[in-house]
Structure formats: C-alpha cells, structure tokens
Subunit: 363 residues, 2 copies
C-alpha cells in the first residue's frame, strides 16, 4: 500500500473529527458539552461596590464560571460602566448585553404591572411573595409581560424587609405628614402624596446631603445595614418602621430571550440553580446584616427608632388601596397581576396566621 | 519520503495524545476538568416518595448530574433501601455511602448539641435560624461537632413551620395535657413529659391507626400538607397550633469528609450551590403546599383548627427552658451551642420586632 501526503492529511482529518466527536463516557447525561465558551456581559442597576445588591450578580457570575468550568463566562458591570442604571432593561431587551440585574419596579413606565414582582406598599414579605411567584402564577405572568421585550426574568435576590425611613422631626399623627418633603419613588411616593405628603425624587448618592441640609424632611432608603452605610443616621435622628412602602423587595435577573435559548440545557440549569442559591444567600445575609446594623444604630445616642403611629399606617394603607385601584383601572395587565397577587395573599393569610404569626406570639 | 505502517501508527498515537491533551480554550478557569466520573450514593432518612423531604435529595442529585455533565452522578436511596433511616449517620461516617440526607436531631444520641441545627422547642423560625447557621457561628459549630465522625454537614431543606398536632379531645388548659398520651419524639417529648404529658414513640407509618384506634390521644407530625397526606384529619378532629416543638425544622445533607475532599473544586461548588438552591426551593414549596392544604382542611366539617391555650404555651415554654438547661448541664457541647443559639436569637429579636412583626401588624 502506498502512502501519499493527501492520504495522510485525510487520515489526520478523520482522526481529528473522531477526537472532537469522542463518545461520551458519562452515561445518560442529557446534554452534550460542546466545549463552546459563552462570553457574556451582565449590567446592573447598582453602583459599583454596592453591598449585597451588586455583590449578588458578582457572586452569581463567579459561581457560574466555576460550575461551568469557564464555559459560561459572565463579566459583571455596575450601573454606568456600560449603560446607565435605568437602561438595563432596554440594553438586554435589544440583545446588546446578555443579562441584567435590577428590580422590576424600575420598569414601571414600560410595564406598570411589573411592580408586583418587586414589591408594592403593604404587600407580601419575602417567603409568601416567593410562593406567589413560583407557585401562585406570578412567574408565568412576569414572563408573559416581558416576552414582547424578548426578556426572560428570574427573581434573584432581595433587599430584605425595608425600614420606613429617616425623619428630621417626629411623626406623631397624620397631621405631621402634611406637606412633608420626603424622598420616596414609585408607588410609595404616590401613596404618600395622596396622604398629604410631598414626595421628592433624589438619587441615592445625594440623599445624605439633601437630608442633612434640610432640602428634604425625610427619606427612605433600604434598611439598617444600607442606611447606616450611607450615613443617614448622621443626617437625621428619627428612624421609623415598618417599611410599609417596600416590604422585602425582590430583585430580578433578566436574560435576553435569544441568548437564553442559545444556551445548552446544562448551562441553563447552572444559571437557574445559581439564581436560586444567590436568592437564598441574599435573604439570609440581609437578615444578618440588618440585625447587626440595628444593634449598632441602637447604640447611637442621637438615633430614636420609632414605630409609625397607628393612624398614619391606617391612612397610608387606605391610600395604597386607592393608588393600586387607580393603576388597575388604567392598565389591564396591572389589574390582572393585582388580582393574582391579592388572591394569593388572601389565601395565604390563614396559614401565615397560624404559622409565623402564632410562633412569633410565643416569643 | 516513504510511509510504513509503524510510522502511521506512531503518527496516530501522537495525534490521539494531542487530542486528549488539547489546550484548554476556556481562559482562566480555576479547575482542570479531568473528566473523572464520581458515582456516588446518597441514602436518606425518609420513606420512598415522601413528598418534599425525599424529593429534596432527589432533585438535588438530578440537578448536580445535569450541571456536572454527568461527572458527579449521585444515586438516591430512600430509608431502608440500603440502610435504615437511623443508620444514615453511621453509614456516611464510615464512608460506606458518600452522602446522607436527614435531620440533625436524629443523631441526638451521639451528638446532643446537633439538635440546635435542626430545631428546638420555641426556637427560631427559618430565616433567623439560617442567619445563625450561616453568619452567627452555627455552621462552624456544626462542622466541628461532626468532624470526629468524618462528616461534613450542610443545611439542606426545611419542613417549614410545623403544626402543634392532632388531638382527639379539646385542650382547654394545662389540666388537659395531664397524662395525655401523645406521640412526640425528642426534646419536644421531654418537655411534654415535664408538663405532665405522656410522650409516646410511634413511627410515622403507624400514626394514623394508633390515633384512630385511641392507642394514643394525640400526635404531632409535620404541617397541614404532610398531615393531610397521612390522613390524620380522618383520625382526629382537633388540630392545634403553633408547632411549638418544631418551629421550622432544618434538614441536613451529610457528606463523608474524605469523599468530599476528593472532589475537584468545581464539583464542590456545584454541590454547594445545589444545596442552597434546594433549601430555597423547599422553603418556598412548603409555604405553598401548607397554605393550600390548610385551605382544604378548613373545608372539612369535622376539623377544628385551634390555638393552644395561653397557659399551656406558657407552661410548655417554662418546661422547655428547664429541659434545655438540664441538657446543657449534662453536655458541654450542648451548652456551647445553646449559648451561641440563644445569644444570636436575643440579638436578632429587635430586628425581627421592627421588620417581620411590624409588617405583620399592618396586615
């Protein structure tokens, strides 16, 4: 038999093909690992180094990289590094960037109903909200509403239960919130306005100065941990609870639909599991950090931690119902999601009463 | 140039070696995927098909298999298929089986202090317990106590907040629990005894018959979802809350230390992330299933859902403190863990009061 260069080349090519195609030794695994590397970007609505909220997508990306042996390599960008905070939705929708992390109420202008997937005033706290999202039809609605934008949303992370905010004067009754200049965005701001307050929009970075100089009378931010980091306890003395306007806000990961569909099933599972693990982490870590920060705040001589007066909460709750009904009348999707949310909450209440509440009453 | 068979063979071998050794294209991945397949076993303390509790390790194994592309292939066995429920700890400790799933209070005979990592009467509910485990020193203690047994424990899953149990008569005061024959294992049983009751040990499979025939007067099991599945609502009419003896029990995954150390870092990360994801899933799914089952139970004409009378709870709580202190005096590890747990709970209470409790009070 004679051997020519072309025969050798053909042989080599066959061998290379055989190598590339070498049979899988791992049994009945459902997915062929093609070895393809997906180099993705994730852009967030949070400032660089913003604790927990920006950490969440960063830890998520790191864990996904390790779990996928580098096959899904996600680089995380803070707000403004690639796109501004409030353009995350559009950037991922257009596919310019594969993934985004933020909160669904940021897109209330585009999808008013999306607010229910983050938080609404006097809404559900974390576990019940997640039960609604995962088992009460919430996620299906969320995905349906984001489908026209080519986005697949996932609940990923939480701020924990928030605080009512910092005030430079005592709030003793509804009279004290008349004309109150308070930083409060979104539905909460709308409710405050209907209760007689004067909601103001101010970015996080300017809150301390605005409160300290008296440009505003009050501000909400997140909870003890984040509020203390921002130094709000040095700008005002009265710290009110509960955070009626944001009872444990759910954060969101959004993925461009075409990009998501392009991932092999094993990488999709890695993403899904990392999303759930990071959610769990953020719930636990916020509980710990807030507990610790509250202890520190309790040591500070100037800080008075006070409950909102009963009549203020009653008024705000009445106004919340009005505000939500007004939105529902303007937008059929809002109405649909509101009904699903309220229906779940009503069904959940009896269990909440005899489980968490009843245990709490024994403490 | 002449071409011989041996030259060709040499060339093929070189090519095969080159293929096998082909440079990694995935950049700065930290771990070399050797392709080695780890075929592991996981044995549980739960009956086959036991919802949620047995599902948890099964979903865990399935997700790990997919994420690792079959490199970590875990086969799950229910109690009794390989080893009995109460021998999971020993089987994994000896390395006969790589992983186990159960609850740490099952090993109270070996490690009395381990009970705190599952649940103790009048203890913390889920989120605060997890904050203690993950950030309050709980996990470090857990791992230290299991180290002599060559076991690495992870919190994986929860039963949710439990119910107080099913009774064939009304409980109107402490007098009604005198001599009460109630199935209640562990510390709860000890507390019941000190309060005048008569705790009985009966396996889950025999509960329905024992209660229905009057062999016992009462039994606790899990919560509405599991209790209804077991048919307890057909054996007794009075369903009491709260589950003072098990306020949201944490389940555990144990891994043989040598086996765990033998895993490459990427597979360890896959396990850790799956553990957290499954924990989150179980918390949410239990909340949903219990809510739904409670609604069904509320429709049943015979079932009366009642709170334990205040004096009974006060008495049981007093006896709990006595029982825990008695255990602490017998075992220094128990004392150490008890102090860590109580210290965290005390520090957590102020945050709990102004977050979850304060929000709940607005409902």
């Amino acid at each position: 038999m004679s051997c020519t260069k072309s025969m050798l080349l053909l042989f080599i090519l066959m061998l290379v093909a055989a190598c590339a195609d070498k049979p899988d030794t791992t049994g009945d695994q459902p997915i062929a690992d093609t070895g393809k590397v997906y180099s993705w970007k994730l852009t967030t609505a949070w400032p660089a180094n913003f604790p927990v909220l920006q950490e969440a997508p960063e830890i998520f990306a790191e864990k996904v990289r390790i779990m996928s042996n580098g096959r899904l390599d996600i680089r995380v960008y803070a707000a403004g590094e690639l796109v501004p905070a409030y353009e995350v939705f559009d950037a991922v929708s257009l596919g310019a960037i594969e993934m985004g992390h933020g909160a669904s109420y940021y897109w209330a202008g585009k999808v008013p109903a999306a607010q229910f997937f983050s938080t609404v005033p006097f809404g559900m706290t974390h576990t019940s909200a997640q039960a609604w999202i995962n088992y009460g039809g919430g996620l299906a609605l969320w995905r349906e509403l984001y489908a026209p934008f080519k986005l697949v949303p996932f609940p990923m992370g939480t701020t924990g239960i928030q605080m009512g905010g910092w005030f430079n004067k005592r709030i003793d009754s509804v009279a004290d919130i008349q004309g109150l200049r308070m930083r409060m965005p979104g539905l909460g701001g709308k409710v405050l306005k209907q209760a007689g307050g004067n909601p103001v929009l101010i970015a996080g970075g300017e809150l301390y100065t605005a409160l300290e100089r008296g440009t505003i009378d009050a501000t909400e931010w997140v909870g003890p941990f984040h509020d203390q980091r921002l130094g709000l306890n040095r700008a005002a003395d009265y710290y009110y609870y509960p955070g009626w306007h944001e009872p444990s806000t759910t954060l969101e990961l959004i993925i461009n639909k075409d990009k998501w569909d392009s991932l092999p099933a094993d990488l999709q599972t890695i993403v899904e599991m990392a999303v759930a693990a990071i959610s769990y982490w953020s719930m636990i870590v916020m509980e710990h950090h807030n507990m610790q920060a509250l202890q520190e705040l309790q040591q500070r001589k100037n800080v008075q931690i006070l409950p909102y007066p009963e009549d203020v909460l009653v008024k705000l709750k009445q106004m919340t119902r009005l505000a939500l009904e007004e939105e529902a009348n303007k937008d059929t999707d809002f109405k649909r999601v509101y009904e699903s949310y309220e229906n779940f909450r009503t069904n959940h209440q009896p269990w909440r009463d005899i489980s968490e509440r009843a245990m709490m009453n024994t403490e």
